[in-house]
Amino acid sequence: MKKISSWIQVFIFTAFIGAAFILNLVLPDKEMSEVENRTLQQFPKFTFENFVFGSFTTDFEKYANDQFVMRDGWITVKAATELAVGKKENNGVYYCEGDTLIERFEAPDDDSLLQKAGYVNALAEKLDIPVYFAIIPGAAEIWNDKLPANAPCDSQKELIDLVYSAVPDAETVDMYGALNPHADEYIFYRTDHHWTSLGAYYGYTALMQAMGMEANGLDHYDVKTVSDAFLGTVYSTSGFTWVTPDSIQTFVNPYDGLSITNYPQGEPLEGVLYDESYLDKKDKYSMFFGGITPLIEIDTGNEGLPSLLIVRDSYMDSLTPFLLEHFSEIDIIDLRYNNANLSQYIEEHEIDSVLVCYSAYNFSIDTNLYRLAK
């Protein structure tokens, strides 16, 4: 009995490490991880010099890890084990009630926030057109009551109040006040850090109020569900790979006379309101305007209305469609990829007002806001 058991133990161990060895050797290497959303390390080039003095061994270890057989499955096993032993988070993401994943928010120190607020205020002070400033709270704030009990998570409301208090020359927008009463609605994706189109609609009402304009009611829109299979960034971070995907909706349809020019590489190209090719990819949220780009210029086709310049992060991409019927021209700048002189741009394009709009999360980590003050 003991002898047989010994043989079985030896077999299990050697077969396991041997099978993994052989499978890793035979199975073809992958280029890309869908779940992690990045390219995977390929077999590093071997030269004597690279081996002795270079990065061969570290690259090889990355290669071995990245190409490990059933990599995504092991990550799921780990995430499930963490939950089973009583943890309510994995890789910094909380597993909340209702299949909702919320990433822990850690506020940076006040000084760095106030410095960035100063850049926004400098822009407002310099321009003689109205500057609107909005910080959008995320699910970690609005859906705070879904978090596990006592879970550490810094307040975004406090961050917004602090930053707004340091921007006296801009017109601040009360995004928190617009979203919080609707906390029980589907205003954030459960698997992504963005707000849904419904959340963006409430953001739009706050913006209209700040600008002294009339917002449309919800019944004004023709709501379409364009995807039921959206698994976003928080899903990728978490390892909780079994959660139900999100659905993506659009409220505003493209129409004749709408003309969008996108400058992905600096040269003008015809842009689109919704790039549906992204719905077949992992990064489905990028369907709004086709994702990251330094500059988008929108001629809404509506004559006689004011023009707006938006300095923004990706949250604005799902809000902008609501603005089309209120403006004649809307230009969207991403400061990370666009180093344009804003005053000059505003003069050249005869802009009537400016909106600076960031999510609380991106505002805390952004490093390009100083460009506002130039």
Binding site: Q9, R38, W74, I75, A149, P152, T237, I292, Y361, N362
Partner: protein, 466 residues
């Protein structure tokens, strides 16, 4: 390459074992010698030459000491020279910058520049191993080894090369020349390796992330409850990490037919500091006992001389752990308690209720880990004041309760696993039950450990975060 990694477990190890068992006996040491150098060279390409130098010098000196055995003075001279070379290597590569940084504090020497020497992996372990060999030969405790490959295999043996146990030459001398292997021994190696792997990848790493949170907290954030959670997590992390590594080393050794001595014997159940050091990192304690404490006179001398010997050994033990004066302080801290126990306390502890002895021991050990792990006296002061209710952050904040609850199961498992409870239950179980349980436990541990190892490299790229 650490053992709990994909390249080691799923590439290196299968190839090493396969070739080892396919090769005839006379080629096995050569194969081990080659893969040992590959294992070391994988992490340290240039310092591989240093290790080969170390092997060669000790090998030759062993032969010379044996040759001049009749001529006491010559043999002694070579032995002293050999110890000086080994210690010199260790001092240069491990402590030179600490020495320079300290000398810079002396006015007039502030112009000295640190050399920026990087520490060769495992040098603290392998210099101690090689040093033991000529001493054993000199004392007549071991026969001279005339086969370079066998000697090199001993020094660079990959299971214990990087983090011990420190194997003395005389303990494995016979096994280098011949070792039998059996399926029972291999299976016991597998069980031991899996115990170590589970300790390291499931418990130690997990608790380590809790300690990281509290170690990074500032004085104004560190609460009393939080500081205790943090340091208890670290105490368990260190034990499971280090003893897990020793278990894996012992297990791998058995898979290759070697029997190494034990390195840990449930240290946290000790009832005195004296007992703790008989159970913690035993191979280091044995080394210092055999090659420093006893030659200094050990216990067979006056009380004052004994205290001096303790002081020397524990100063050395402390500084062996790392190039920082806080490690020296940590060693002297233990010397103090060991002297007090020798003077009178040990006898009283034996008569005291067990619970008091346990609390006394754990308290001293845990406070010791604060000195051990925090790299400045300022940080130690902040941390210790928080632990004893003198910090500025109060008793607890809500996140402390969150972490306590999140890690409760891990803590309970870890604390139970730090006692001999599990091993006793296993030993008492009927043979049939053990025969069934062992393969099942190995399979479960393999799956979970692999999941945690792979997840450790999980690195989602969230460029669309913005």
């Amino acid at each position: 390459m650490v053992f709990s990694s994909v390249p080691f477990m799923f590439m290196y190890l299968p190839v090493v074992l396969l070739v080892y068992y396919m090769a005839p006996w006379k080629w096995r040491n050569l194969w081990l010698f080659v893969v040992n150098l590959l294992f070391y060279g994988w992490g340290e390409r240039v310092y591989l030459l240093l290790m080969i130098f170390c092997i060669t010098v000790n090998f030759i000196n062993g032969i010379l000491i044996d040759k001049y055995r009749g001529d006491g003075r010559k043999a002694k001279l070579i032995l002293v020279l050999n110890v000086v070379i080994n210690i010199g290597m260790l001092v240069f590569f491990k402590y030179i910058d600490l020495i320079i940084e300290t000398l810079r504090l002396i006015p007039g020497l502030s112009g000295l520049e640190p050399l920026g020497v990087t520490l060769p992996i495992g040098i603290s372990f392998y210099t101690f191993q090689t040093m033991s060999y000529p001493i054993d030969v000199y004392r007549g405790d071991a026969d001279v080894q005339k086969n370079y490959i066998s000697f090199g295999t001993f020094v660079a043996l990959f299971p214990q090369l990087i983090a011990g146990p420190i194997v003395r030459y005389k303990d494995v001398a016979d096994q280098l020349n011949f070792r039998a292997s059996s399926v029972d021994q291999f299976a016991s190696g597998v069980r031991r390796f899996m115990i170590g792997l589970a300790k390291k990848s499931l418990i130690a790493n997990n608790l380590g992330s809790l300690w990281d949170i509290y170690a990074a907290a500032s004085a104004s954030e560190l609460t009393m409850l939080g500081s205790w959670l943090g340091i208890i997590a670290f105490s368990l992390q260190l034990y499971f990490d280090f003893s897990g590594y020793s278990d894996m080393a012992i297990g791998l050794g058995r898979m290759l037919g070697f029997e190494f001595l034990e390195n840990f014997n449930y240290p946290y159940i000790s009832k005195s500091i004296t007992e703790f050091w008989r159970r913690w990192h035993m191979s280091l304690g044995t080394w210092f006992r055999d090659y420093v404490y006893i030659p200094l006179g050990g216990n067979r001398c006056s009380r004052r001389r004994q205290f001096f010997n303790i002081l020397v050994v524990w100063a050395l033990t402390g500084i062996w752990h790392g190039a920082s004066w806080t490690f020296l302080l940590w060693g002297l801290y233990y010397a103090l308690f060991l002297m007090v126990e020798k003077a009178f306390l040990l006898k009283r502890l034996e008569r005291a209720p067990a619970i008091l002895s346990h609390i006394y021991t754990l308290l001293i050990v845990i406070v010791g880990w604060v000195i051990f792990q925090l790299d400045s006296l300022d940080k130690c002061a902040v941390y210790l004041s928080a632990m004893f209710g003198l910090g500025g952050a109060g008793f607890a904040v809500t996140s402390d309760f969150y972490y306590m609850l999140s890690y409760a199961v891990t803590f309970v498992i870890a604390m139970a696993a730090a006692t001999p409870l599990g091993a006793r239950l296993y030993a008492r179980a009927p043979e049939a039950l053990r025969s069934c349980a062992a393969p099942a436990l190995i399979a479960v541990a393999l799956i979970l450990a692999t999941a945690y190892i792979v997840d450790g490299t999980y690195n989602p790229f969230l460029y669309f975060q913005f």
